[in-house]
């Protein structure tokens, strides 16, 4: 059991303070309070009664001596405790660095907004630069098929495309079913349930097929790209690639970019089919539209143009997802926390950019009357 530390004034010599008991970290809060209470003229500190003392206790002793403007060597100590107290006293002699003054709240608030804006600006510049870097690398190795990272590209096509197919198809099917229900609820009042077919066809061919795919891949693939490249960066593998005379953009970015450029349109087509199947299922089972009627209505309304308006956005989305995912990976700075932050940032950016681009494209195609 630790002995209770005692601080008492000698009854015979009023200027002499006796310290005893255990001066260890377990008792430190209690001890500090009592040391702070010690007042009055003190001429000598007798610490020979201290049984056990550790660095925390020694620190309090040194602090006490400093407050009483005594020299540490003037404290009377047991020989075995002397080395510790001296070591602590030496460490405490280092110059104290003053606390940095915190900026007032309103300044930090506006500072944060300013930083956000400049960061956004410089990020856009970086993303454009990264696009240029990737395109340049693509053009550089295009005439040299031996340098094409074929295996890596096919690996990523499987990872990002084939493995995502069930998820994309299932979710599109469900969204298609939901859209059919929603449309039917409104259109039934006008006795125009058949127009559900138009609604689903237009929605999925022009917007939903490719948009759903892109949002899913932004969550699934962009995060994976960032985490993969980020982990390599923090383990200095990227530097290793450079010192071996290889180009990390060719080795890491191009396979991912090309794989997505090929696979995102394929997935988008699958999503369109699945979404229309979802609509068809609901139409047949609960809206009373026979499958033949649904299909002939689709044939009447569909033109190639709608399909192209949807699909033309797919490569754009693929670029955004691959480039943002990879760039955020390269921005990782050493720590595990940084990998997490960059991954979050990649997903948020990809989803926002995809939706913004989609909205702009919708406006554009509406204006030109497609």
């Amino acid at each position: 059991m630790p002995e209770t530390p005692v601080i008492e004034t000698d009854s015979e010599h009023p200027g002499c303070v006796r310290l005893s008991g255990d001066w260890i970290v377990d008792r430190i809060a209690d001890l500090q309070a009592r040391v702070d209470q010690l007042r009055g003229p003190v001429e000598a500190l007798d610490a020979r009664g201290i049984e056990r003392i550790d660095a925390a206790g020694a620190w309090l002793l040194v602090r006490l001596a400093q407050r009483l403007e005594m020299d540490v060597s003037a404290i009377e100590l047991e020989g075995e405790h002397r080395a510790l107290v001296d070591t602590v006293a030496r460490a405490e002699q280092h110059e104290q660095v003053g606390d940095t003054v915190r900026e007032p709240g309103w300044r930090r608030f506006f500072g944060a907004i300013g930083k956000l804006i400049t960061d956004g600006g410089s990020h856009f510049v970086k993303l454009s630069g990264f696009l240029g870097l990737s395109l340049a690398a693509l053009v550089r190795i295009a005439p040299r098929p031996r340098q094409w990272p074929v295996t890596a590209t096919i690996h990523h096509m499987q990872q990002t495309g084939l493995n995502a197919l069930p998820l994309v198809a299932l979710l599109s099917f469900l969204v298609g079913a939901v859209v059919a229900f929603l449309g039917a609820t409104v259109l039934r009042d006008f006795g125009a349930e058949l127009f559900v077919v138009d609604l689903i066809t237009f929605a999925f061919l022009r917007e939903f097929g490719v948009l759903l795919t892109a949002i899913l891949l932004a969550g699934r693939t962009a995060s994976a790209f960032t985490a993969q490249i980020g982990t390599m960066k923090s383990r200095e593998e990227i530097d290793a690639i450079r010192t071996l005379g290889l180009d990390p953009v060719v080795l890491l970015v191009l396979p991912r970019l090309v794989a997505l450029l090929i696979m995102l349109p394929v997935l988008a087509v699958a999503a369109m089919v699945a979404g229309m199947l979802g609509g068809l299922t609901v139409s047949v089972t609960s809206l009373g539209i026979p499958a033949e009627l649904f299909l002939s209505r689709v044939e009447e309304t569909i033109t190639l143009r709608h399909y192209l308006v949807g699909l033309i956005k797919a490569p754009l989305f693929a670029m955004v997802i691959a480039l943002v995912g990879c760039l955020e990976g390269f921005k990782v700075a050493g720590t595990a926390q940084s990998v997490g932050e960059r991954t979050t940032s990649a997903v948020v950016q990809c989803i926002s950019l995809v939706i913004i681009i989609d909205a702009l494209a919708a406006l554009f195609f509406m204006e030109i009357g497609w």
Binding site: A55, L84, V88, H94
Partner: protein, 255 residues
């Protein structure tokens, strides 16, 4: 209180079919610096992890200052409070500053400490390991390898432990940094009255600061004792280790 800090008897560690330790006995005296050496894969780190209770052994008895370390709930609480560990690269929490890293054990074991007192105690440990106050608000990623080791040591010392475990403290440091770290360990262990269990490959460390050396091999402790006794031990690995070209250079440096 007993004069034996760590006592290990009949320890057996096994991974699948591979037996790392069998019938391993070792005693570490209070207040000494024990250097543990051995070839790669002889289970030096496994031994440390077993003592720390991070890995339950298949058989054997481990006592630390008379407290048995085993599977029972609470049997390691005493050990956690009275020991500090420095892992190979410091194992500092990368999302916390040096100051916050050192405060973590204080927060865990003494939640009632006031914020300012905890801060002061952490700063004291940072100063004790020879780091300046400017290092305190930095993140581990902003420090050099040597400074990270020192910060790791400050965290290991946060609770004023009696026992200090070090896993290759000088690995990856330049010779000057390694020598300075050795010196720091020697000074601190003397001043704070530490018992040190030190795994190392560094012959300079062995010759300059270790009181005794234990050689681990063939699943047990081959020999343990003061350096001059261990050097003459008749075992091929021990002879190669202490009489190879690098050992001769290290010995020349100290004598």
């Amino acid at each position: 209180m007993s004069e034996i800090a760590i006592s290990i008897a009949g320890l057996k560690n096994q991974f699948g079919l591979q037996v790392v330790h069998e019938h391993l006995d070792l005693e570490v005296a209070r207040g000494e610096i024990l250097g543990v050496v051995g070839g790669s894969g002889t289970g030096k780190s496994v031994l440390m992890r077993a003592i720390l209770g991070l890995r339950p052994p298949q058989a054997g008895r481990i006592e630390v200052f008379g407290h048995r370390v085993d599977e029972r709930a609470g049997s390691r609480d005493w050990l956690r409070r009275h020991s500090g560990v420095l892992f190979q690269d410091g194992a500092l929490f990368s999302s916390l500053t040096v100051q916050e890293n050192v405060e973590v054990p204080l927060k865990a074991h003494f939640p009632d400490l006031s914020h300012s007192l905890r801060r002061e105690l952490a700063l004291l440990k940072i100063r004790l390991v020879g780091l300046s106050d400017e290092a305190a608000p930095k993140l581990p990623a902003e420090l050099s390898g040597g400074m990270r080791k020192r910060a790791g040591l400050a965290r290991a010392l946060a609770l004023d432990p009696e026992l200090l475990f070090l896993d290759e403290p000088t690995a990856g440091l330049d010779p000057i940094g390694a020598a300075a770290f050795d010196q720091l360990l020697a000074t601190l262990s003397k001043a704070l009255g530490l018992t040190v269990f030190l795994i190392t490959h560094d012959l300079d460390t062995l010759y300059s600061i270790c009181d005794r050396v234990a050689v681990i091999g063939e699943g047990r402790i081959l020999t343990v004792g003061p350096l001059d006794e261990v050097e003459t031990f008749d075992h091929p690995w021990v002879q190669d280790y202490f009489h190879g070209p690098r050992a001769r250079a290290a010995r020349k440096g100290t004598t």
